[in-house]
């Protein structure tokens, strides 16, 4: 399942809630990644951030990488929750999780979900610092 959220969320609550609906006894591993907002970047204090997305394409892309992960590894399920809009330091930005029978698939799939998301999903960050607003332009290329 994929979901975009305007408001802050508790990733541990979401993980627990989602796992309650999975078939009991069918998974032996859950690997997850939680990304939170830092209050610093490139040597500056960041007071807040706005995360812009492409409505429709972003959701479609997140679903695509979930589908790809499920084709690559034997997963029971996977989950992505991602914030959009205004974000404060310490807020959760993203949760990715993958459930499988054994840990290898779960680890690999969770890593795949977050790396594909960060390198290719249409999100753009605008930071608010003491010197004003600025778009974040750096990223790491796919496959690096």
């Amino acid at each position: 399942m994929i979901e975009l959220r305007q408001d802050n969320f508790d990733p541990w609550h979401e993980l627990n809630r989602y796992q309650q609906n999975l078939a009991p006894g069918k998974y032996g591993a859950c690997c997850n990644f939680v990304g939170s907002m830092r209050d610093f970047n490139e040597g500056d204090v960041v007071a807040k951030m706005t995360l812009e997305h492409y409505p429709g394409m972003t959701e479609q892309f997140l679903q695509k990488i979930c589908d790809e992960a499920s084709e690559k590894w034997p997963l029971l399920d996977c989950l992505i929750i991602h914030r959009v809009g205004d974000i404060q330091p310490n807020d959760s930005i993203v949760l990715t999780a993958a459930w499988s029978a054994h840990r290898d698939a779960s680890f690999a799939a969770c890593r795949y979900l977050i790396e594909e998301l960060k390198h290719r999903a249409p999100f753009w960050k605008k930071e608010n610092t003491s010197t004003g607003d600025r778009w974040v332009s750096e990223n790491t290329p796919p496959g690096s």
Partner: protein
């Protein structure tokens, strides 16, 4: 033919609009859509484009009614 064009993030601010509609006589490439919609002859190498929400190369042909989006590199963060 009519094509819907979108710009996002810093590109939207540079160009000064987020959505517009353009008309073409023949099926253009995404690059030609960029040239007409942005009034800029060349597209910076780091600009990404999508047709109907799928990533494409700039030489991809656009069809009547398509939505063509242009945006800067996505910024998911450093490893």
């Amino acid at each position: 033919m009519k094509i819907n064009v979108k710009f996002f993030a810093s590109l939207r601010e540079q160009i000064g609009q987020s959505d517009l509609s353009i008309s073409c006589d023949n099926a253009p490439t995404a690059l030609q859509v960029w040239q007409q919609a942005s009034s800029q002859p060349s597209m910076p190498a780091n600009i990404l484009c999508a047709i109907n929400m799928e990533y494409v190369e700039p030489n991809t042909l656009v069809n009547d009614g398509d939505e063509v989006a242009f945006f800067p590199p996505v910024t998911g963060g450093q490893q």
